[in-house]
């Protein structure tokens, strides 16, 4: 039972990540490989605030969002002026730089040694300690993030994002400041995935830079693409599938020595297959086919 709850908790965390990446990659059409970095910023900000300053988790959350959004805007503002495939390279570059900072800035992040002993969240005297507690906590945040993104994507703001994805030159001719929308969507996505990072940090109570690498960014992209780009529910489907299937494989008798590799082959392979045969994903709107 604990094991199942653990999987459900991971699913919730990745639902948040997937939906937020979907906003910028699926709705706005900007493929970003920086997302693991923002997830990591959320994790480190939450961890450092609670370890060094004893800040309560729920107070730290807005701080994580703000920090991630600020860095997201700082990166996005110059990067989003770069054309399509070079933009992805730029996000790739920023992701690696973020990782290098996490790994090398020993004074701040403790580098490769990581940050152990992150306390469990407390609220008015109640400590979230059991798996069941965390499942409720992560589910609540997943719902909140869903509502936020639902409001955004169903509004005229969301329609402008979709139009940017379809043809951003045409969008400009209709009087919309396309760059501003791009930066906003990038920055909001960063902020929301920081929430997931903070949850991750407090759940696992230990973080190190190896969780926030390029392959992790590719995994997040797989969730969006496999589940469906351009529809929030697609990311829910994607998170459920890509988190649970590797675990199911373990039950079918996969030796644990190659379990980690098989998990990666699974999402890497699915990414290839979906790009080859169904770029829209299982339940998506956008097939990455620009005219």
């Amino acid at each position: 039972m604990e094991y199942i709850l653990h999987i459900l908790i991971l699913i919730n965390i990745y639902i948040i990540v997937g939906m937020s990446l979907n906003l910028v990659s699926g709705y706005t059409g900007l493929i970003s490989l920086s997302h693991a970095g923002f997830y990591g910023i959320g994790a480190y900000t939450a961890a450092l605030l609670s370890l060094n300053f004893g800040v309560n988790f729920f107070v730290a959350i807005p701080a994580c969002i703000v920090v991630a959004m600020a860095i997201g805007a700082a990166i996005g503002f110059p990067a989003l002026r770069i054309r399509d495939d070079f933009f992805i390279i730029a996000t790739f570059g920023f992701q690696v730089i973020l990782f290098q900072v996490m790994n090398n800035w020993m004074e701040l992040t403790n580098g490769p040694l990581g940050l152990p002993g992150i306390p469990q969240p407390t609220l008015f005297g109640y400590t979230f300690s059991s798996h069941f507690d965390f499942w409720i906590l992560t589910a609540l945040f997943a719902i909140i993030v869903y509502v936020i993104l639902y409001r955004l994507t169903k509004s005229p703001f969301g329609n402008v994002l979709r139009s940017i994805r379809e043809d951003d030159l045409f969008t400009q001719s209709l009087g919309k400041n396309v760059n501003q929308y791009k930066v906003l969507s990038f920055s909001i996505a960063a902020g929301l995935s920081a929430i997931a990072g903070a949850l991750y940090a407090h759940y696992f109570t230990f973080i190190d830079p190896t969780s926030f690498t390029i392959p992790e960014s590719i995994f997040m992209l797989s969730i969006v693409i496999v589940g469906g780009s351009g529809r929030l529910s697609g990311s829910i489907i994607g998170a459920v599938l890509l988190v649970s299937i590797p675990e199911l494989l373990r039950f079918v008798g996969m030796p644990s020595s190659i379990a980690a590799n098989m998990r990666q082959i699974l999402y890497g392979g699915l990414l290839v297959l979906f790009m080859m045969f169904r770029p829209k994903g299982i339940y998506g709107e956008f097939g990455f086919r620009k005219q």
Binding site: I31, L33, P78, A79, R81, I82, R83, D84, D85, F86, I88, I89, A90, F92, G93, F94, V96, I97, Q100, V101, N103, N104, L169, I214, P215, I218, L221, S222, I225, I258, N261, M262, Q264, I265, Y267, G268, G269, L270, L271, V272, M275, M276, P279, F288, R289, K290
Partner: protein
């Protein structure tokens, strides 16, 4: 001085990797990220043939190169070509190649394990003195092999009919096809050439440092940076970019601790993407935006 030397040696490896990457990019116009995994296969195949199967190195290494070329070709034949036939965009090909990289790198992990392997002969050599610095045999071999390969590549591209066709394809695919060039076949050749260069670079590197399944990631990254800095549309640019990055990293160690080496490289990448996206030697493509 030692830094300069290290920079040149590193630069020559980066140039090889970048050239392999660039040859493929020129003909297909998308970033074949899986090249990093193909690169890794290079030295692992060499390890397989020479260490695990005990074949003589003069047989093992060429075999490894051929096997690597086959791997690179498989990427094209199994994934990219069918996608292009279905009108995939550069973006979808790029995303597919990300997934392909993950798959291939993990296949290497599964077959050979995640632990470090080595093909080095073991002793730590001091190296010969040169202009006040030290250079090892391996470093000399790396440098000379790289130069030879680059010259051969240049010769092939500029003087042979094959090379000219390849260049025609990269300049204007539509026109090349009209003049009878079978673009599919030449793209495959490009993959083979690129993978060959990667294999050579990879085998040479494995004599200098240890092998791990993720070593290709770094190589790939440096290759991408070199290609962009040197000029995305230019083969000589890739070589130049490789040298530039090698020098910048190793000279930068003068001021910053070496752990920030990669950050230097990425910082340069970002600067170029922002201000000079077509690199030092690159030219903007002629066609208009609208």
């Amino acid at each position: 001085m030692q830094f300069l030397l290290n920079g040149i040696i590193a630069g020559s490896i980066y140039s090889l990797i970048a050239l392999g990457f660039s040859v493929i990019y020129q003909t297909t116009r998308f970033f074949h990220f899986a090249h990093g995994a193909v690169y890794t296969f290079g030295c692992y195949f060499a390890y397989l043939f020479s260490v695990q199967l005990g074949l003589d190195r003069n047989i093992a290494f060429p075999l490894a190169c051929i096997a690597t070329m086959a791997t690179g070709s498989l990427c094209e034949l199994v994934v990219y070509n069918p996608m292009r036939k279905r009108n995939a965009t550069d973006l979808t090909l790029l995303i597919a190649s990300l997934g392909l990289y993950i798959v291939l790198q993990n296949i290497i992990s599964m077959i050979w394990g995640d632990d470090t392997k080595t093909m080095r002969t073991g002793e730590v050599v001091e190296g010969h003195p040169l202009f006040g610095a030290r250079v090892t045999d391996i470093q000399i071999i790396i440098f000379i092999t790289s130069i030879i390969l680059m010259v051969l590549l240049a010769f092939m591209m500029m003087k042979t009919k094959f090379g000219k066709s390849l260049r025609a394809l990269s300049n204007d695919a539509g026109l090349a096809r009209l003049s009878g060039i079978n673009s599919d076949r030449y793209i495959l050749y490009a993959f083979m050439i690129g993978s060959f260069l990667a294999a050579v670079a990879s085998i040479m590197i494995s004599f200098d440092t240890d092998m791990t399944p993720t070593m290709g990631f770094n190589a790939l990254v440096m290759g991408v940076i070199a290609v962009i800095v040197g000029g995305i549309n230019s083969l000589p640019g890739a070589a130049l970019g490789g040298l530039f990055i090698g020098l910048a990293q190793n000279l930068g160690v003068y001021w910053l601790p070496s752990k920030w080496q990669d950050t230097i490289a990425f910082g340069i990448l970002i600067l170029f993407l922002l201000f000079k996206p077509y690199g030092i030697l690159g030219k903007k493509p002629q066609k208009q935006l609208l």
